[in-house]
Amino acid sequence: MDLARVLINFFRVESCGKCTPCRIGTKRAHDLLEGISRGKGTLEDLDSLQALSQELLELSNCGLGQTAGTPIKDMLAYFRAEVEAHIRLGICPVGVCPMHD
């Protein structure tokens, strides 16, 4: 979960801002992951993240935006339980996320 947040932040910062999905999508994804890491996530956020990762992959102009969705997609595919723990239980199982503002 924290790795996905760090990686999406990297793409957000590195986005050149030319195309819509990368410019706005990386920001939206980062905001959602930040929220989850601070204990403010909802299960709907996970649907939004799933959709955003797909949009980044399909709609972005260059490799950067197309890749930016991958960490989220993999996070949801392989670490869904860990992410849901942030939301359902209000804890970070690995003890990295602050879980508060």
Partner: protein, 920 residues
């Protein structure tokens, strides 16, 4: 050709087309936001993604070229979903602060609704940026509505060539900024509004009417400022013009306009508008004129009938007492062809004089006379778009195109940027175009003939002349060469101040990059040698064989919106409509038969003669339509003195002007927004002007006023006018007048309101109703047969600096104002940017006379008058030269200019006078 299928439909496309273009061709719409057909594609917004069989992922239709056998889907469920995603992302950063928007052209909203999204439901509730963040008086900036499509950035760089807008920061922080994130005007914005025209979301909008809402109707018409002839839509609400919007179908300009065209319309509703006929009190009381000639007494509002009866009585009295040639008719290059035709007919048929003239006398009379003699036709030979597409080099001499014909100036920049056209500017001032030129020749004012002859001398020396063109299409070569021999490069360099090496370089550029197109304006014409200046340029192009082919020719840029048309309509002292000379018996007989009366075969007196002749008693009465000689004619003090002495003046105009102080009757005409007719632009394109709003107050159509005066004068008798095909003054509308013009003017024979309203773009000569018009003149043969190589002879200007008046003065206009300023001084936003006359002076001279932060005004004195104005210290002018304009009455440069006339064209030498200047 490339074969492909879109949505299962087989399409043949050019191989260099994009998918989007192929789809448009087959009437298939693909949604776009960042794309515009006038701008380079960028593929940023991702709305136009389509699926192509076999491709890895979706592709942007706007940037992907077609290829053989492509199978494309533009609509399916997945694409709808991806477009909805893009729209939601864009709307999530779109914030509407709530001012009353004109949503009709908001493309983001249109596409959102198209894909089932309510834009208001998805838009952001938070503003990220300050609203109205730029002080530019014309352009309202609200970056909360920006979707970073960068159409503004591309419009500014690719259309206007100004590079004001750019993108700052990156990623989510990307935003559009002017210059180095500064105010637009500081980033050298020219307020053309192209960015607004291309903005798809309202992030950039028209500030003067920001809260006014959508138009009730839009009327396509032609601009009333310069001779470019831009067309646009007047937006009307409640019988008022509220804004101007671009019309992509405009033939001369497309979406582009300049600051005056897009923003300079509010004068139409200014409270100064004349709305009732005004007559001096003494006339109503039947008394003699007041003894104080400087003051003709009080104005009294009266009925049209009373005012026009007085006009008719006075004109008849002058005609019958002092002869027809005591009356002068000054028509207007601001008015339509139809109105100008009637003024010509009024002077010649009703009064019986050829004293019919207008302000072309002051701008391009030397061009008309010079080119008519050399080539047989005194007009621009090639259309601007043709030159943009086909010229390989351009010489601009004596034209500050960026400021005086801004849309053509932008086209020249585009030619340089897009086609690497080699631009040579010859101008005593370092004008803006020099930034785009490969060479700036800075000749001394009044040495153009020496310069051009010097270039021709080098062309002949190097053997660069087009021998077969000279042989087949010109005459008089031997005499011409004799004269050219008198201008060897060293001597030319001495006269002009241009280094010899630069003369050689200029020739290389122009010869190696054929075809060359030559442009000029007042810098060539307004000299005592104006006609010879024009000869020299025509000679240059004949020697190089640059006639009758695309991208070439001689291209005088006409000043006023309809100065070409006013000349075409015979508002000149020596010709009937269509340049049929009054001295040629056949022409005289033709018009005598048409108008049913006897006509004079004596060439009339020009505006520059009619007014000074008042003093000698040769001019007794003037009928002036929409002109302002008290401001625009040289040596204003003398002009005003002459007008004081004039017996009777009737002035028909939209505002009280500087000249109305000398009028006895003031008749309220209408602006371009209130009339229907035609203007002929500098490219000889005849274009419709369409009435968008009703006449203000009791103002009447200008053609109707002239027609009523004509009928009243005819009714008073004293001049025999018989029944003839075109003797009558009964017209139902201006279209009927154009029909009469077509019947009597061979070059307009095929022009009618019907054809123009049907969308035809017609350049004269257009001799019959099936003729498509003639965009390029002199193909294969000159109008006069062979081109006449006339020796052009350098003569010094009539007044040069000396020890009493050591500085040289040259004059002109600035981009934000128009001539005597009657219209533009009544547009408050234009005054915000340029609110007073400034005298341009070089830093060197400024230091000599002691200008600094505190002392920044100058008093400029010539032998004829003096003015005081603020100085603008700038490198635009070289040492020893100052520059001033004639837009503001209190510091009108024409108090200083000299009424020295070209002997042939009678044009005054506005461009050179000697002055002295002190700081005050």
């Amino acid at each position: 050709m490339t074969k492909l299928t879109i949505n299962g439909i087989e399409i043949e496309a050019e191989s260099n087309w994009t998918i989007l273009k192929a789809a448009e061709h087959a009437d298939i719409t693909i949604p776009t936001l960042c794309y515009h057909k006038d701008l380079s594609p960028t593929g940023a917004c991702r709305m136009c993604l389509v699926s192509v069989k076999g491709a890895k992922g979706l592709v942007t239709a706007c940037t992907t070229p077609v290829s053989e056998g492509m199978e494309i889907q533009t609509e399916n469920e997945a694409l709808t979903s991806s477009r909805q995603s893009v729209l939601k992302l864009l709307l999530s950063v779109y914030h509407d602060k709530g001012y009353k928007p004109d949503e009709t052209d908001n493309e983001l909203f249109q596409w959102a609704r198209h894909y089932g999204l309510d834009p208001y439901a998805f838009m952001s509730s938070k503003a990220r940026y300050e609203v109205d963040s730029d002080p530019n008086p014309f352009i309202f900036v609200d970056m909360n509505k920006c979707i970073l499509c960068t159409r503004c950035v591309r419009a500014c760089s690719e259309i206007q060539g100004r590079f004001v807008w750019g993108v700052s920061e990156r990623g989510f922080d990307s935003r559009i900024v002017a210059g180095m994130d500064e105010d637009m005007l500081d980033a050298r914005c020219e307020s053309c509004g192209a960015c607004v025209a291309y903005c798809p979301t309202g992030a950039l909008s028209l500030k003067p009417t920001i809260n006014i809402g959508p138009a009730e109707k839009k009327v396509t018409t032609t601009c009333n400022y310069c001779g470019v002839g831009c067309q646009f839509d007047l937006n009307v609400i409640d019988d008022k013009v509220v804004r101007v919007t671009s019309n992509p179908a405009a033939p001369a300009n497309g979406m582009h306009l300049c600051v005056k065209g897009r923003f300079g319309f509010s004068f139409v509703h200014h409270s100064d508008r004349l709305t009732k006929p005004l007559v001096r009190e003494y006339l109503l009381k039947g008394e003699a004129r007041p003894a104080n000639k400087a003051d003709r007494g009080n104005w009294v509002e009266t009925s049209w009938d009373t005012a026009l009866d007085i006009v008719a009585d006075k004109l008849v009295a002058a005609r019958d007492t002092f002869g027809p040639d005591s009356v002068g008719v000054l028509s207007s290059a601001k008015c339509t062809n139809e109105e100008n035709y009637l003024m010509n007919k009024f002077g010649r048929q009703v009064i019986g004089t050829n004293n019919v003239d207008h302000c072309a006398r002051l701008c391009h009379s030397s061009t008309v006379a010079g080119l008519a003699t050399a080539l047989g036709s005194g007009a621009m030979t090639n259309p601007m778009n043709d030159i943009y597409e086909n010229a390989n080099s351009i010489l601009v001499i004596g034209s500050n195109t960026t400021e005086q014909h801004p849309v053509f100036g932008a086209k020249m920049r585009q030619a340089v940027l897009n086609r690497n056209v080699q631009l040579v500017v010859a101008d005593p001032r370092r004008i803006e175009l020099c930034e785009f030129a490969v060479m700036h020749i800075q000749q001394k004012p009044g040495t153009d003939i020496a310069l051009i002859n010097g270039l021709v001398n080098i062309i002949l020396e190097k053997g660069y002349e087009d021998k077969s063109f000279i042989e087949e299409r010109t005459e008089n070569f031997d005499d011409f060469v004799e004269n050219i021999k008198k201008y060897p490069p060293e001597k030319v360099s001495q006269i002009t101040g241009v280094p010899v090496s630069q003369l050689y370089q200029a020739v290389e550029i122009m010869v190696k990059n054929a075809p060359l197109a030559v442009f000029w304006a007042m810098g060539i014409t307004q000299h005592t040698v104006g006609v010879h200046n024009v000869f020299a340029l025509a000679d240059l192009q004949m020697v190089l064989g640059n006639f009758g082919i695309p991208g070439s020719g001689v291209n005088p840029l006409r000043g006023q919106n309809n100065v070409q048309g006013a000349c075409d309509m015979g508002c000149l002292v020596n010709v009937y409509p269509g340049y049929q000379a009054v001295t040629v018996e056949a022409a005289q007989q033709k018009f005598e038969a048409a108008w049913g009366t006897t006509l004079s075969n004596k060439v009339g007196r020009t505006v520059t003669e009619l007014i000074p002749d008042v003093i000698e008693g040769k001019t007794k009465a003037l009928y002036i339509l929409g002109e302002n000689p008290a401001m625009t004619d040289p040596d204003s003090n003398h002009v005003r003195h002459c007008l004081e002495e004039l017996d009777f003046m009737v002035l028909q105009d939209i505002f009280p002007t500087e000249t109305s102080a000398y009028a006895d009757v003031l008749l309220p005409g209408v602006t371009f927004a209130e009339k229907t007719g035609t203007y002929t632009n500098t490219e000889r394109k005849v274009q419709m002007v369409r009435q968008a709003i009703s006449e203000r107050g009791d103002a009447r159509q200008d053609w109707e006023i002239t027609a009523v005066i004509a009928k009243k004068v005819i009714a008073r008798g004293g001049r025999e006018i018989n029944e003839a095909p075109y003797s009558s003054w009964d017209y139902a509308d201006s279209g009927e007048i154009m029909a009469e013009v077509a019947a009597l003017t061979p070059s307009y024979g095929g022009i009618s309101h019907q054809r123009l309203n049907a969308g035809e773009v017609l350049c004269w000569p257009c001799p019959d109703p099936t003729h498509p018009g003639t965009p390029i003149l002199h193909i294969g043969k000159f109008t006069r047969g062979k081109g006449n190589l006339i020796p052009a002879i350098h003569v010094d200007p009539s007044e040069l600096p000396d020890k009493d008046y050591p500085m040289m003065l040259t004059t002109g206009r600035v981009i934000y104002h128009w001539h005597s300023g009657e219209q533009t001084r009544r547009v408050k936003e234009l005054l915000e940017i340029y609110g007073e006359a400034l005298i341009e002076i070089s830093p060197e001279d400024a230091a000599v006379i002691g200008l600094n932060e505190e002392i920044n005004k100058v008093k400029v004195t010539s032998r004829r008058g003096e003015i005081i104005a603020h100085a603008w210290v700038t490198n635009r002018v070289p040492e020893g030269l100052i520059y001033g304009n004639f837009h503001f009455p209190e510091s009108n440069i024409n108090y200083l200019t000299k009424a020295a006339l070209d002997p042939i064209a009678k044009i005054p030498e506005y461009k050179v006078s000697a002055v002295k200047i002190v700081a005050v």
